[in-house]
Amino acid sequence: MTRAMAASRFDATLDALPAIRDLVRNGATAAGLDPATVYHLVLAVDEFATNIVLHGYAENGLTGPIDVSVGQHDDVVRVVIEDDAVPFDPSARPLPDDADLHKPLQERSVGGLGILLAFEGVHEHSYSRTGDRNRNEFRVSRAAPSQTGAAGRHALR
């Protein structure tokens, strides 16, 4: 059975992040995900939305909407994030590798941590550009454990 749990349009600003998280948290909880899986999904969406606001829109002098929806099909909960910014695939950004993650903080660079965290928390991610829209989709399964971290490894190039 397919159900739409929640959907809303937000202005693409950092101030919209708490409301975006609330939408995903409420929708994913209503879909029956356990609290740890909900947290990971909320974190993933927050990190992607932050990237879209900062790197998709603001860096290019643009403003516009972020559309977020939560839906459920059988045991799979799906969150779709769409925006009208420049073509931008957050998953294509360089990620820290194991060596980076073992460096003391004094020697760390700050890039890529958010996307790394996003991929640790969801089971599948896909990106597509259709017309003038970016579309990021996260999928988590109610049946699978929350910490597989499988998505990023496959999405990475």
Binding site: A36, K103, L105, Q106, V110, L117
Partner: protein, 106 residues
């Protein structure tokens, strides 16, 4: 939920208490609180995180900033993080650079 920040300096220990959600919108205020609380060159920075229910990577970047600003002579304590926040610190290797403790050091 927004972020509430409280700061206190006692002797050579600066303590910052965070309650709520730490994201890219609230991280600059956290960073400012660290800058203010550490002007007296403390040798310990204690972060009370028991009331922090969400932390995005923007929070991690503030921790990197703190560590790089304060140098290796200043110990960074993370007190009573909730499980998902601790999970984030572990996945990113930050637990190797901070002391994660159940209650504030005395």
């Amino acid at each position: 939920m927004s972020l509430e920040i409280a700061s206190a300096v006692t002797g050579s220990t600066a303590t910052i208490t965070l309650v709520g959600e730490l994201d890219a919108a609230s991280a600059p205020a956290f960073r400012e609180a660290i800058e203010k609380a550490t002007t007296g060159a403390p040798n310990r920075l204690v972060l009370e995180l028991g009331g922090l229910s969400f932390m995005a990577s923007a929070g991690l970047r503030v921790l990197i900033f703190a560590k790089q600003k304060l140098g290796t002579g200043v110990s960074l304590y993370v007190v009573a993080p909730q499980a998902p926040v601790l999970d984030t610190l572990e996945k990113t290797g930050f637990v190797q650079s901070v002391y994660v403790v159940a209650s504030a050091p005395t």
